[in-house]
């Protein structure tokens, strides 16, 4: 699904990713953990194609295609989804309009007809119940006046409606209380499928109690310094990151 080789990337002229290698096979959920400033969010934004994040070396292939050659909107239409750490408020653009425009952009891209408005609303309502979101959020501006938890749930709602092949969730667990965390985790788990992959960027092990990853990778100073199964996350919880930072140096 996703193959990253020797990825180097800079932000404001400063190198953040320094030769990152990562392979996420189809159907798997991988977690990227690491201390603050290790490059986790940079990786997420590079994958989504955010302007200002410059790839200076290396390659990223998604379903065998060169992902870096695609514009941000093409990546989305091809099935890459970024769940934002800080979802943006866009007053005046309503939620359901954005959802529908996003779904139709992908469908048109794949030569499919646009969704039927009624069926679409039914589908969205069903997913909203799953995320325990109130119907009134549909007609509000995108994330407008939402609490931190509501914004994160809205990200997952978008993901559930868009059904991406690869979801990159950037610290989706940050700022969530335990109940919201469970709802978000439940949403993520329902999307697990043999033809989908997920990359969870997280600071803490807490999320991984609810979403069990197939692999855990530790990112330190722009490189993956260790990979393992879910027990690695538990070990990090016990020992912190210092021992790995020492090893990386």
């Amino acid at each position: 699904m996703l193959t990253i080789k020797n990825l180097h990337a800079t932000v404001d002229g400063q190198e953040i990713l320094k030769g990152l290698d990562l392979e996420v096979p189809e159907g798997e959920v991988h977690a990227i953990m690491g201390p603050n400033g290790s490059g986790k969010s940079t990786l997420a934004h590079v994958l989504a194609g955010r302007p200002g994040y410059t790839v200076t070396a290396g390659s990223v292939h998604f379903k065998g295609r060169d992902l870096l050659a695609l514009s941000p909107e093409e990546r989305a239409r091809e099935g890459v989804f970024l769940g934002f750490q800080y979802p943006v408020e866009i007053p005046g653009v309503n939620n359901v309009y954005l959802l529908k425009a996003a779904v139709n952009a992908a469908r048109t891209h794949h030569g499919q007809p646009e969704v039927d408005a009624f069926e679409f609303l039914t589908l969205v309502r069903e997913k909203m119940r799953l995320m325990r979101m109130d119907d009134s959020m549909l007609s509000r501006g995108v994330n407008e006046g939402f609490s931190g938890g509501e914004k994160k749930r809205n990200e997952i709602l978008q993901m559930l409606v868009l059904e991406p092949s690869l979801a990159v969730l950037d610290e989706t667990d940050s700022g969530l209380d335990i109940d919201a965390l469970k709802i978000v985790a439940h949403g993520v788990n329902t999307l697990r499928a043999p033809n989908r992959s997920q990359l969870l960027v997280t600071h803490y092990q807490r999320l991984l109690e609810h979403i069990v990853p197939d692999r855990v990778h530790v990112l330190v100073k722009g490189r993956i310094v260790r990979s393992g199964d879910r027990t690695l996350a538990l070990e990090l919880e016990q020992r912190g990151y210092d021992w790995l930072i020492g090893e990386a140096a």
């Binding site: 989504a48 194609g49 955010r50 302007p51 514009s71 941000p72 909107e73 990546r75 989305a76 239409r77 989804f81 970024l82 934002f84 979802p87 943006v88 866009i90 007053p91 005046g92 653009v93 309009y97 954005l98 529908k100 425009a101 996003a102 952009a105 992908a106 891209h109 501006g141 995108v142 978008q158 868009l162």
Partner: protein, 428 residues
Amino acid sequence: MNAAVLNRLKEEFGAVRAALPEHVIGAERRGQALEALCAQGLPVTRDENWRYTDLRSLEQARFAPAQTQPAVLPSLPATPEGFVRYVFLDGRLHSQAGAPHGVAVRTAHSEQAGAAPWRLETRLPEARLALLNETFATEAVSIEVAPDTQAAGIELLFVASAAAAEGASYPRVRLALGTGARMSLIERHLGRAEAHSLVNSAVQVELAAHAALTHYRVQQLGAQAAWFDTLSANLAAEARYDLLAVGAGALSARSTVHARLSGRGAAMSLSAAALADGQQSLDLYALSEHIAPHTRTAQTFRGIASNRARAAFNGKVIVRESARGTDSRQSLRGLLDGAQCEIDLRPQLEIYTDEVRCSHGATAGKLDENMLFYLLSRGIAPEVAQHLLKWAFLEDVIAKIAPSDLRRQIETTLVGQMRELDTLKELL
């Protein structure tokens, strides 16, 4: 330049003077108005409060009123539900409905001989172009709402059809609400798409105690037209005036709004949206004058300028010594969409008393990169994302338009102006 134009103005007046309808405005008063205008001179961009106005169209204009055209109207939008419509073509009454219950509507045709002609407030130098209206007006509509009447809405549709070379048009309106009366007014300025029309409108609003008026002003003249407009309003005690102005048309447009809050507890909101593209110049000067205690005003402006266009809002709030307990807010925002466009926001406050609460915020900038990327990351095309965000920017004002069919018509106009009808049609 100014002297030459004034001379031409006098010559034109001399030539048509005898033909101007005496019962709309007497010849003597017309002459006085012209003298007062000549004494002040036409505005020039050196004048502080005219510096953002494109005044060039005044140089070539023919000021005498256009002759009534053969009545071929451009297609008109449907009348919003709950409103009765009056149509004026090049400043002259073209068609009218029956006045709503409790409302007296007088036009040049219905004016009783000897009825007292009303005067526009023209003392302010920013209001001087109302003197031009007073000199040449061929029609005047006066709307009076009886006290304690909840009146049905009235829509005044001013259609500009003549080219400026054939003469100008002078919409002239007085609206007076009696004590406790309430109504909604739509005032729309439309034009033939290609006409180089010159429109000079003058509107006077008088609200008695406890009266409430919601006034929708929509300027969607043709792309080559010039619009110079003066609105003055006086609010008595506890009167409420909600003015919503949307400017999208004309090559150059300048509107002067002067509101006097002269009665205790009077309140006014001005919400304005401007969408300027190409070489357009849209300028709004708004003066809120707090005279009585405990008066409230709120000015909201959202302007977008694209390509080489300019959108300007010059909002001045004066709090007189007598206006203790004033509450005034200004929220002015401009969006720059291109390297050569211009946004001018000028909040001004003059306070001559204590115990007031005045706040203002003015920001101008480009589209928010974070919002843009968020939309792209959901697969939205960059052009569509930009248009969506521009749309959203104006929504602060547009969403306040209560009659849903009017709002829809305005949204369609704005979307059409953004040249993105297909991609944004689902918003409508």
